[in-house]
């Protein structure tokens, strides 16, 4: 990709980029200062709406619109929860910001809090990122000392408390209501909606949950304006996004690219992945974290990295976790790894997900152990059908999407696990009526 401003990773690679001193020396906190001193909160919401920034956690919901749902004067405090529970397999982008540029996030927190009239923000960091918790805590402490957090920030009269909270190992806490429950000291089980968190969220108060990357995009947007941001990326997917590239490529890592960049550029571009490891051919790619449908090699070469293009191909941009799969990998084995994950991470409250994730895992395990039965693939499809769209949150769908697409696109590999002497038969429902039985 040619020319675009680095919005998110501009400081990464700079020595001691995580310190307040370095961040400020590179212009840090000027955007927050300007925002607090010269703009009204509703103007900030307006700019973010106009910028077209969309949530970077995976769902892609327009950030400004989300903020707009927060009722003002509800008589309750408004909370901002920063979702740093990065745990979608194939995703390791927020980690770069948290580790190398925590002040960018803190500056974004100040801006977002100001916009939604929040005075208590939490940064919920996944439990495994223990050293990052320390790093972020240190940055928050620095910000407090410099008068950037706490009472009367930068003499503007705006107060903001920030608490760094460490999760303890549960993928589902990345779901925003699971995160809210977890922060309330409960199991991280998603909540039934309605009510929606913008109205009834943390401690039954209006709550905004934003991803780290979303928050970290704010200082640039407020500094340069909505139009400048819209000048990057595509019309409907403006701006840049972080992409986590993993799998057997020469240069895996986190890259910032304008939305709309061809996927092949990320994988094969000289500045990015530089192509597959020697001896391995591209077989497939999951473009948006493990929960989205897989693309074949051919589709991968044609795909563009923005919300709309990927949706057209039947998959999703998701978290931007691009997992490259080489021709040395067995697709059933890769799917088994994922199903074991969803089985392990289902929170257990909704029956279709609790039972379905376990069942899918069991069936595939059986197939891989050479004990597959004719009709197993149809059984998997039937289980998938019954899991999709019927639960409180989308973890169930997240297990279904890769499953269906793996089997649809690489059916031969799965069929090869089934007994060869028998023709796979059409699925016949085993359930019978009471009359049949008697």
């Amino acid at each position: 990709m040619s020319d675009f401003p680095k919005i998110l990773l501009d400081n990464v690679g700079v020595e001691n980029s995580h310190t307040l001193q370095v961040y400020r020396s590179r212009g840090g906190y000027k955007s927050a200062e300007k925002t607090l001193k010269t703009m009204k909160p509703e103007e900030v919401v307006g700019v973010v709406k106009d910028s077209g920034l969309r949530g970077r956690g995976g769902a892609g919901f327009p950030t400004g619109v989300k903020w707009g749902f927060v009722p003002q004067n509800s008589g309750k405090p408004v909370y901002l929860l920063v979702n740093a529970d990065e745990s979608e397999p194939g995703t390791f982008k927020d980690r770069d910001i948290l580790d190398h540029d925590p002040h960018k996030m803190i500056e974004g927190i100040i801006i977002a809090s100001y916009a939604v009239n929040c005075h208590d923000a939490f940064i919920y960091i996944r439990g495994e990122y223990g050293w990052i918790v320390k790093r972020v805590q240190k940055a928050v402490d620095e910000a407090y000392e410099a008068g950037l957090l706490g009472k009367d920030i930068l003499g503007t009269g705006f107060d903001l408390e920030v608490i760094v909270h460490q999760g303890a190992g549960a993928y589902i806490c990345g779901e925003e209501t699971g995160l809210i429950n977890s922060l309330e000291g409960k199991k991280g089980q998603p909540r039934i909606k309605p009510p929606f968190p913008a109205v009834v969220g943390f401690l039954d108060s209006p709550t905004v949950v934003n991803n780290v990357e979303t928050i970290a995009s704010l200082p640039w947007i407020l500094e340069h304006g909505a139009d400048a941001y819209r000048g990057i990326g595509t019309e409907k997917s403006p701006g840049t996004k972080l992409f986590s590239l993993s799998g057997p490529v020469k240069r895996p890592g986190v890259y910032e690219l304008p939305l709309g960049t061809p996927l092949r550029e990320l994988i094969f571009g000289e500045e990015y992945g530089q192509g597959m490891l020697p001896g391995i051919e591209l077989k497939a790619c999951i473009p948006g974290g493990s929960s989205v449908p897989v693309l074949t090699a051919e589709e991968t070469m044609a795909a563009k990295l923005d919300y709309e293009s990927l949706a057209e191909m039947g998959t999703m941009l998701g978290s931007g976790g691009c997992i490259v799969i080489g021709d040395d990998a067995s697709m059933p084995e890769v799917l088994k790894v994922l199903l074991q994950f969803y089985h392990h991470e289902s929170c257990g409250q909704c029956t279709p997900c609790r039972e379905g994730t376990g069942w899918l895992d069991t069936i595939l395990e059986r197939m891989l152990a050479g004990k597959g039965r004719p009709g197993d693939l149809d059984l998997i499809e039937r289980v998938c059908q019954n899991m999709a769209g019927l639960t409180i949150c989308v973890l169930s769908d997240a297990a279904v999407m890769p499953t269906r697409s793996f089997i649809a696109k690489f059916r031969d590999e799965f069929a090869a696990l089934l007994p060869k002497d028998e023709e796979p038969e059409e699925f016949v429902p085993i359930a019978r009526s009471a009359e049949d039985r008697s």
């Binding site: 029956t351 609790r354 039972e355 994730t357």
Partner: protein
């Protein structure tokens, strides 16, 4: 009001009403399939069974977490809904042992009902692939848990969290290893623990008292009111072949909602208890001997007449007796036969702590009924002072001697004591005449609870062969004292008292399903409570 169409028919409901409840009405009382929804608990929305189709909403929605909105078009019986529910049911059965023949829930199991309905008799899951969990653990004095049968509806957890606030139960671990249980070191021993048995839609939580004693489909049931305290929780007595097997709360939103305490629930044990008075007794040569009724009546009459010219009748009622009995005692033996009513209870007795929920401080069921009939509390010294060699004391179901030592002594000051009641106690043991009556489970009657709410209860089983309905015994006593009652049948008592006494005018039109409040004062109180 909101106009909404359910299954093709138009209905009017309150805007914002729970859609599950609206659907129940629209379906003629047939509830949507469900395990986790319970009107007395916060909505969990986890079993996913009550899916309905709402026009304009692409995904199916769970009715329990939806509300009625004007113009809504809801379908609860479409093919899409039926298919989806069948499939979700299959998930529920996946790790369930389906061991109905050896499960005590058979006959009242929501899971069994559903899978019979949907015909899901077989499964694609190997038994060896099922997730194993703890079997048959006693998690409290009254409750057993079989975690494998649990469908994780979380009702028991919500009950102990939100209703009793005792927090013994939880769901531990996650995914399909989620398991309901009591937290380590705790046991489920709160005063309402057996409500979780009622709440459990499957055979995971069962009553240690009831399990394996009777298949539920062999039980008959009758509406009753708990006699354990002044709250008057509505309940059902379930019985078979003349034996009571259990008592369960009956919904009355104005009184006990859906709940009752364990103590009240287990009171039925007294009905068939070892201390039942099964025969009439007369004290002869200092010893109480069982006699026939004829013998008792003639001995009593002789004794009464033997008390001399100045003989008097002193009457003690009871906060345990029914409204009808208390009215009979007063109208026949006091007003007509000139007896003196001392009161209905010893002042300050049978009081315990009010637990702020259902257990009232007053552990008697009909204090308010008695007071409205003009009965008052009395002291042991009043009991003593009313006595004398020429006095016959008639006590209706009231263990004066057991409640108070001074009262026990006071009994000695009477020429004779006749005791009407159904349990042997310190008072019956010192009485000269023991007239065995019936328990709350063996007769019809009305209690007035602490809020002034009159509530009816009905007979479930027969009493001991020689025991008699208390109101008949009172009528017989009237005959002895020379007065024939105006009432011939039990229901005459209620019609007469509601016609004659202003305090009970509200009962003239009968007693409603939720009971009938006797006065406006309590009605106002109720509004506050609600």
């Amino acid at each position: 009001m909101a106009k909404i169409i359910i299954d093709g028919k138009e209905w009017e409901f309150e805007e914002g009403m729970n859609l599950f409840e609206a659907c129940t009405i629209a379906r003629g009382g047939e509830k949507l399939p469900h395990f986790c929804y319970h009107p007395g608990l916060p909505v969990a929305g986890v079993c996913r069974m009550c899916q309905v189709e709402i026009e304009g909403v692409p995904k199916l929605q769970i009715a329990c977490n939806s509300t009625v909105r004007d113009g809504m078009v809801v379908n609860t019986r479409s093919e899409r809904v039926e298919n989806t529910v069948r499939q979700i049911l299959e998930f529920h059965l996946l790790n369930h042992p389906v061991d109905c023949p050896i499960c005590d829930q058979v006959g009242e199991c929501a899971l069994q009902d559903q899978y019979m309905k949907y015909g899901l008799y077989e499964t694609d899951v190997d038994v060896g692939d099922k997730v194993m969990k703890h079997k048959a653990q006693a998690i409290g004095e009254h409750v057993m848990l079989d975690a494998e049968r649990c469908v994780l509806c979380s009702r028991c957890v919500r009950f102990t969290e939100h209703i009793t606030k005792t927090n013994e139960m939880g769901i531990f671990n996650r995914g399909n290893h989620s398991e309901v249980g009591v937290a380590p070191g705790l046991s489920l021993d709160n005063d309402y623990s057996m409500c979780v048995v009622d709440l459990c839609p499957v055979g995971a939580l069962t009553s240690r008292d009831f399990r394996f004693r009777k298949r539920v489909y062999r039980l008959s049931s009758v509406d009753s009111v708990c006699p354990g305290c002044a709250t008057g929780c509505n309940m059902r007595i379930e019985y078979a072949d003349g034996v009571i097997y259990r008592q369960k709360p009956r919904t009355n939103l104005a009184v006990n909602e859906y709940w009752m305490c364990d103590q009240g629930r287990l009171l039925y044990k007294h009905v068939g208890g070892d201390d039942r008075l099964e025969e009439p007794f007369v004290r002869e040569d200092g010893e109480l001997s069982p006699v026939g009724w004829d013998h008792l009546w003639s001995a009593l009459k002789a004794r009464w007449e033997g008390l001399g010219e100045s003989r008097r009748l002193v009457l003690v009622g009871s906060p345990h007796a029914t409204l009808e009995e208390l009215y009979g005692l007063k109208s026949l033996l006091a007003d007509a036969a000139g007896g003196r009513v001392l009161g209905h209870r010893l002042d300050g007795t049978e009081m315990d702590r009010d637990d702020g929920f259902l257990m009232a401080a007053d552990r008697t069921p009909n204090d308010q009924g008695a007071r409205r009939l003009g009965y008052e509390a009395f002291t042991a010294s009043e009991l003593h002072d009313a006595g004398g060699e020429d006095a016959l004391l008639v006590i209706l179901d009231n263990d004066l001697a057991g409640l108070d030592e001074a009262a026990a002594e006071a009994l000695g000051s009477y020429g004779a004591v006749a005791y009407l009641g159904w349990r042997e106690n310190a008072t019956s043991r010192v009485a000269d005449f023991v007239l065995p009556g019936l328990s709350y489970a063996e007769k019809d009657g009305v209690f007035v609870n602490k809020d002034g709410r009159a509530q009816r209860f009905f007979k479930a089983v027969d009493g001991p062969r020689q025991a008699r309905e208390d109101w008949r015994l009172i009528a017989e006593l009237g005959e002895i004292f020379g007065h024939t009652p105006t009432w011939r049948a039990h229901h005459d008592l209620l019609s007469e008292l509601s016609a004659r006494l202003d305090a009970f005018g509200a009962l003239a039109g009968g007693i409603g399903e939720e009971g009938t409040l006797l006065d406006g004062d309590s009605a106002a109180k109720e509004v506050e409570r609600g």
